[in-house]
């Protein structure tokens, strides 16, 4: 059973300036354990697609299942963890209590909660920072904390919406490396929205290239890179070839009308 399966999925927003086709006839299947990147210019519907999976938006056409059930049912089952563009930590909660938030909501007992928090803090390399408030941490650390929060209730699916978009190149490289390690260790399925071609190619087993107006999938590239990826794989010919194909896909779909 595939984790996400979409058939001719469409979503049209009705606005004052007329309908906006955020998604049009999107067909996509994501298998368990894949790392799928969605790449494309603004307005191509990549974030919208992620939000449809998460049941934060309702599609206006087509069908989609998550873990074989409707997105709403999947959300009610708490099938996924969602990492937003900004860390969005609650400023009045310490890092540990931010991570505890989803666990409190599902009603996990306190002792179990504490163990879980320790484990995910270690997973994102924030051991010992549980007692700090968000403002005491750098942007990169806050984003790692938000990933820890998404990992907290141990859903098999991780949805990440440009999580490193606001961070500088060096921190981003570092977090990309950590994310791959985490993915390898936890064997989760990850859907990852990004603007960056190198980021998409470096991380993914599958790259979904999208284009705007209407938002649609123009190319789906299965990566030939090995799962084990040191940072300098980005200079290999294979890497550059995939990056080239992504760039071509983006160019083909991008019309300046």
């Amino acid at each position: 059973m595939s984790v996400v399966s979409a058939q001719s999925l469409s979503l049209t927003f009705e606005t004052n300036d007329g309908p906006v086709h955020a998604l049009k006839d999107v067909d996509l299947t994501i298998e368990k354990g894949e790392f799928v990147s969605f790449i494309g210019p603004s307005g191509c519907g990549k974030t919208t697609f992620l939000r449809v999976i998460a049941d934060l938006e309702q599609p206006t056409g087509g069908t989609i299942t998550v873990n074989g059930v409707s997105p709403e049912q999947a959300r009610l089952n708490r099938a996924y963890g969602y990492v937003f563009q900004a860390a969005g930590l609650y400023p009045w909660r310490t890092i540990a209590r931010n991570i505890a938030l989803p666990l409190e909501i599902i009603g996990m007992p306190k002792r179990e909660r504490r163990e879980r928090i320790e484990r995910v803090l270690e997973l994102v390399d924030l051991k010992g920072f549980g007692g700090k408030f968000p403002w005491q941490l750098s942007g990169g650390m806050q984003q790692r904390a938000s990933i820890a929060r998404a990992l907290a209730f141990d859903a098999d699916l991780l949805l990440m919406d440009e999580p490193f978009g606001a961070l500088d190149e060096i921190v981003r490289d570092h977090l990309n490396e950590q994310l791959l390690e985490l993915w390898a260790r936890t064997e989760k399925t990850i859907c990852f929205v990004t603007h960056s071609i190198p980021e998409a190619v470096y991380l993914s087993t599958k790259i979904v290239v999208m284009s705007p107006r209407p938002g649609r999938v123009t190319d789906v590239i299965d990566s030939t890179l090995p799962r084990e990826r040191p940072l300098d794989i980005r200079e290999s010919p294979e890497f550059l070839e995939i990056a080239h194909r992504v760039r071509e896909g983006l160019r083909a779909g991008h019309s300046y009308d």
């Binding site: 998460a54 009045w92 409190e104 909501i105 408030f133 403002w135 390690e181």
Partner: protein, 307 residues
């Protein structure tokens, strides 16, 4: 995953009281300026009476003597600061607090109504705000009335509240507290509505991804998120509440309270008494605002808002 070093900014938290040092000089300068202007105004405004006195007595008008006399008149147009200070001293420290002439006694009467009204106002304000945020019908219908309520002069409505409540057998502390409530709930409603709506789309979406109930979203997101707004509006509310209590003391025939002192003072031309009651009210208001502000800072610091 190797990132053992700490790469975050770590500013040393600023103490609650250290800021006072830096603001002391400008504040003292302003206070000094006020005293200079006050003394000057007292001299100018009280001088005509001295001139009249000299004329009536048929003695020569000597400006220097007259000027020094303007600072010690019994019923000056504008009493000098030290006269007010003396009156304050006499009516607080030198009088037993049970005495009808003690400002502490009258201050307490007003303060008790203020605090009760402030408590009612805060509870009412929070309740209305929760209703407005969670109920669309209330959002559409209540807010205009809340705003309209504040366009009515409190001086017009205060006597009616007193009279109506008196007719149903409620008198004393409660009617005054209700007038305070009437003024105090407004800033709390406005601030709390804004505070409860302050969580951004991301923070509320997050709750949705957790499949959190409305109750959980309220207690874990909206309420804690509104705390800074609540304390800011409570500072305004407590000051408004004091005004309400004083106004509430005027139409009752002014038996007790700071409002009574103001009214009695104006009946008998006791300007020094009026001014000392005014200053006492101002000190009370400033202290109340400061206490609420301090409580707010402590809560926010505990909650991790302060840095």
């Amino acid at each position: 995953m190797a990132c053992p070093h700490y790469d975050g900014p770590m500013t040393k938290p600023l103490g609650i009281f250290t800021r006072a040092h830096r603001t002391a000089l400008p504040v003292l300068t302003v206070v000094a300026a006020i005293f200079v202007i006050w003394y000057g105004a007292a001299a100018v405004m009280n001088l005509p009476w001295e001139r009249d006195q000299a004329e009536r007595a048929g003695v020569e008008f000597v400006l220097t003597d007259a000027l020094s006399n303007t600072m010690a008149q019994e019923r000056p147009v504008l009493p000098a600061p030290h006269q007010v200070a003396q009156e304050l001293w006499k009516t607080t420290v030198e009088k037993k607090i049970t005495s009808k002439r003690s400002l502490v006694y009258h201050g307490w009467i007003t303060l008790s109504a203020t605090l009760l009204g402030f408590l009612f106002g805060t509870i009412l304000g929070m309740a209305l705000a929760i209703g407005i945020v969670y109920n669309r019908a209330m959002d559409m219908s209540v807010m205009p009335w809340v705003i309209a309520s504040q366009t009515i002069p409190i001086l017009a409505i205060a006597p009616m509240i007193i009279v109506v409540l008196n007719a149903v057998g409620i008198s004393g502390l409660l009617p005054k507290a209700f007038i305070s409530t009437y003024l105090a709930f407004f800033p709390v409603v406005v601030g709390m509505v804004k505070g409860l709506r302050s969580p951004d789309a991301l923070q509320t979406d997050l709750m949705r991804t957790y499949n959190a109930s409305a109750n959980q979203t309220f207690w874990k997101l909206r309420l804690p998120g509104s705390m800074p707004y609540l304390f800011t509006s409570m500072k305004v509310a407590v000051a408004a509440s004091l005004v309400g209590a004083i106004v509430g003391e005027l139409p009752t025939g002014a038996v007790a309270g700071l409002g009574a002192r103001l009214l009695a003072g104006s009946y008998y031309g006791q300007t020094i008494q009026i001014w000392s009651a005014l200053i006492a009210a101002a000190i009370l208001a400033a202290s109340l605002v400061a206490i609420v502000g301090l409580a707010g800072r402590i809560v926010e610091r505990r909650m991790g808002f302060a840095r």
